[in-house]
Symmetry: D3
Subunit: 288 residues, 6 copies
């Protein structure tokens, strides 16, 4: 399975992030109490239900789902038939849930909101990755994520088969147009980064033309972003660089022919739409 090696490796800190955002999500959804359930459902009612995929895709967010119900009531029991990264078809049963009606009914919406959102991202990452599956190109995400969900959304991208670009502004150097202007050119910008930033980080430079690619190369950039270039330009850039730096294709890549982009020889293709325009995967909780 795609995410086999990945899902648990990240589990530790993801769990901590999940705790906070789950608490936030439950607080905003439950408010001062689920007045309907509290008023109508007898207190000791036990119910059973199943999570069912209503469309095909890649499942992601099952650990979050478990945490949501564990947060509300540790006596809720979930039996999952799948794990993050698994493919589902319409009608597939994802897991069963049994326990106090109060906890399950009050947590249902939040659990589904997470699961549908993250599965939507994983599914899209899978689709893009499959397009270039027979090449060495990696599909990577960006910082265009939904506020508050950065860690989870990047996890979903990886679960779907994509790779992660830097997590935030402190774990990667990316010298863009404005940094270049402010520093007085690509060469001085790269020089300043090498002097002032930790040696542990590579230096990536955004280039909008072959001339800039040439400058970045001479300045010793480790990675060169080919920004908003057409296929022809990208191909020339890759030839010019000739393996002396990694190359990243960028700029509305969700609207491009990814196979063709991959054919230019770039190493990475970054796609903002992976996380900024998410279509929730249709999943429902069916009660018995």
């Amino acid at each position: 399975m795609l995410s086999e090696n990945l899902e648990k490796k990240n589990a530790m800190m993801i769990k901590k992030s999940v705790e906070r955002i789950i608490e936030l999500a439950l607080t905003e959804d439950i408010g001062t109490g689920d007045i309907t359930t509290n008023s109508v459902v007898p207190e000791n009612t036990i119910i059973e239900a199943s999570f069912i995929a209503k469309q095909k895709g890649i499942i992601c967010g099952l650990d979050v789902l478990l945490e949501v119900f564990a947060y509300l009531d540790p006596s809720v029991m979930c039996k999952l038939f799948l794990k993050d990264g698994d493919k589902v078809e319409e009608g597939d049963k994802i897991g069963d849930i049994t326990g106090p009606a109060h906890a399950i009914l009050s947590g249902e919406r939040v659990a589904l909101n997470f699961l549908q959102h993250l599965s939507g991202i994983a599914t899209q990452a899978y689709v893009f990755s499959q397009l270039v599956a027979d090449t060495d190109v990696k599909i990577v995400d960006t910082r265009k994520t939904t506020p508050g969900l950065r860690v989870l959304e990047k996890y979903a991208v990886k679960t779907g088969g994509g790779s992660n670009h830097r997590m935030n502004l402190s774990d990667g150097i990316l010298i863009k147009d404005n940094h270049i202007k402010a520093a007085g050119g690509i060469a001085p910008a790269v020089k300043a980064a090498r002097k002032n930033a930790p040696q542990t980080l590579k230096i990536e430079v955004e280039a909008e033309s072959l001339m800039q690619v040439q400058e970045a190369l001479e300045a010793g950039a480790d990675i060169i972003m080919l920004d908003n270039m057409n296929l022809e330009q990208m191909k020339e850039a890759v030839e010019l660089i000739a393996g002396r730096a990694l190359t990243e294709a960028s700029g509305n890549m969700d609207r491009q022919d990814l196979k063709a982009v991959a054919a230019t020889g770039v190493d990475l293709i970054s796609i903002g739409a992976l996380t900024h325009s998410v279509k929730a995967m249709d999943i429902s909780l069916k009660f018995r």
Copy 2:
């Protein structure tokens, strides 16, 4: 303008919500510091830039944008030419920003992430609302929102011309299938709600058939949700109810002919896709 009366009325508590989510978003994006800007850009650099719409739509989230930069550096100056709810065409200038390069470059991504997400929702709410603009029907949202962004997303729906359903589980009673089963029928469920819940809340009942509509009506429901009914069924239900309760059409409404749904005479149409499947509006920050 659409949101003229609404935008500031909600401002007070939205500002408090915004503070928390902005802090969360900036923290996850900046990490321990914007290493590129800190290493490359001279400390006293002042820059100027403009927020430009790259496609047509409804702008939403300008207050959030102001807060993002105010949080990072109060000396950043923003001059907005529009307000939340305004329509923009491709190429329209939304506002200018001037100030320390460090704050503007470090805050740019988070500010845009909010603005593009909320404007995407407002634009979609506008599109749906316009379809039924010549009727009395209200387009309303659901609880299918992105975790952590409930208040802002519901604000965006209203900004675009939609209306809000209940904000969370404590400010509205909605008796669904499982509540009905657990209570032993629609009648006992409504009776329990009337006895145990505050009198200040109306009682809404989800009905999947005309028989259930009839039961809900007899039990004294204030609102009846017509769940996953076709146009014919909705029309019959509306006739049966005859004004004795409000009616809400529900169930994948984003895939329906909303004009036809409105023609059945329902009062409300609720659409989960308004917030669970958001396409970010394309907006960029152009530096001078």
Copy 3:
């Protein structure tokens, strides 16, 4: 028992609220450590004690008590003989507690502070409710609660046999004098509320005269508050309304003859003193 159906239904979110306020209460009471116990009591001392009612009343807050000691030391064992809502007479044993002296001595005061305060409220709610027990009138609380304790105090009111009015400003519409003035009259105020607020909320209007009652009725108010009216006025108002809206008697009701108020035919009597002027119930922890 009075609260039989209620106590656990609200348990889920009350537990979360309790965690926060318990942590706050323990922090403010223990400071940097219980210096007396730490200095004087040998570390492995085990003690046994019993919670004893020193006066008659209704017990409320036992779950909070359990959480206080669980927070300090999970090895503290409590055996409760009663549950929230039970009646006690002077001298009744409420429960036994056994465990490490350090946790029990350090938590004793905070546990009692909660238990005595909430039992005081439940007892008063019981007294008021009994006065009108042979009528259909409900005794309801207000927003005049102790800062930070809203959820717990409203729970205590319900435990004692009262009912809850709205929990806060977002789950109920109550148009008061100032809203009416600002909106230009009762009719436009009600119209604006119907247009701008979610349909899930009823509209309550405060009326200080029969003329205002008439206006509220014509505007379509769902509930009419009869504010500071005498018995005669209330009776006339109820007759005028004739079941077309719910009626709520309000205004220093703790000083009124509640039986006489109930006899006017109102549906609800709201009493601020239930929560703003609480007399702690006398309860002590007796060590063996």
Copy 4:
């Protein structure tokens, strides 16, 4: 004025405490927004109102009131005619408030809840203190405070003319019955406290009999609490102690003749009811 020297000295940290509890109180009262005001009151409405005492007493909590409105909207202007500790008669105007209707209407209840609660405590502290005003006896509070409000309630006691006992378990040593048992007697308990606790704290011992008073005295206690003794016993204890330790009368002192207690010669009288059974002072906000 009573509190003249005290009110500002504590202001610094009280302000920090106030920020947290005000935020908590506003959050629980406003929820996701003041739906009535937001729906009904035009956004730019400015209103004026006055805080009026509806009964005589001692005002306390004015700084909290200012913070509540400042938190909601810094443009709200308050003009106070009194300061904490001032006496009021029924009908006295406490202060004027002018500003945006939205902030004032949404904050009114929380501001009053604080002001009425703290003024109720200050008033009661004043009443008790006046009873012994011609003696050297100090009326002191206890740890029987409302959870979450410790600092504010102790401030109110001082504002009304009382004195503070220890703030929490870490800034005072009070060896009670159970500590004595666990340590094997008064002498070893005092010895352990002297050995293990910081030298900066005095050692107080609770005595229920003259024999225990004698033991405490011999052990070198700095303060001796005379617990639940009658007037005769207290007098004998004071004579026995003869100034070698401070004396504190304790145990349902709100039901005693405080003048008679003072006449026994004790130095301190501690009264739990000062904070555990508070009657809110009647104060209202009158709009013009």
Copy 5:
């Protein structure tokens, strides 16, 4: 063992403090994830390792170490051969640890940072205490602690055999030079403290000359700090005081001959360097 009676008595609140600072320390060290371990180490790897002392000293912080790993993964098992306060020689094994490689490798640094820092303090406290072990003098700490670690560092001082001075500004009265000037002299300062502060606190006065010692004595100070006096002055001061107040030697005491200071007859010697200039004890985690 030195700390035998002390270590668990403080455990309760230390555990709460530890939770917060551990979370802070892990968050700042792990960031968004241990990218090396996550990328390189297979997910189910189990490892074993031992904590080894690399120099002689007093161990302190073992409970913190346990909490660090428990926080990351409850399945990590630690077997400790020592307890806080135990002496170690170079090469001694402190404890074994077994469990998931991911949790152990990610938590190793933070656990060691705590353990080495606290053991460094305990060791230094032990060294100073041993110098005066055959006298009645107590070595006490100050408020010159590392920001955020007050409770833990004071615990380490006690673990090493020192005693604690006041924990913070609210649990001890220490009238210094500036207080004296502001109050108009030692006598009025002590008088004001006696009037305004709780009776439960002793009054300490800082004296820089014999004249000030005399004044403090006459004012009734409970403790007199002999600040920056030489041995001769201290001796005279002790004789002057003649047991009527406790005496505390203060001022760069880490550079003094502590035996000589003790010989002057002072009761306490306070040393800021105990916590403001800490040399980490060398401890390592050896993997098998």
Copy 6:
């Protein structure tokens, strides 16, 4: 001046970190109030004082000092004569402070605790850096920092003239002994890192022998840590690597002849003692 270009670049997020740790430090130091100052110092007292260096060194932490007093009382005025990174001699005046005695006396200790600790680190970083000032070698810090102070301590290292290694586990890859064992060798470990970690991070490998250096080189490591090697070994390693990777000398470097280490040709020397064994710089606040 050393830190001229650095101090403000990091200011933005450091300020946010500072807010939290300052709040924590003030809370733990002030507790429920500065009882001495509150009891003794008249409320409107204004005082003036100067921060004086009592030994030579590099000043660091002045922004933190400003924040401490701003947090307590915005009316406190500070006039600084130096900036972070400046050299001081014994007796130099660092800055003046004027304002309310209450805020200055209550904040003095916390402000000094920060300033002395950070200046101690900056001074040590300066001393080490000067030793190799005539070479290209960089002195870098480690993750052996005081819990909770990571960001500030790394800032102090940079202020003193050192450089920063990775900030935490997520912004640098460092493959150590245990990672190598778990992965089955250096080659597979580096390969896994290249596959699974973001491309933006360089890969550093810890080598304890020349054979491991060779393996790391062949595996394509970007940086090779020469761990606990003697001068001869380091020299051989540098020759072997021949510029194909950066080299970092590590292992008790504070006890080495840094000039000799630099002469081996390594690029970086990392020193844990910079932050794990800090000697506070002596600074005092002198009142006038």
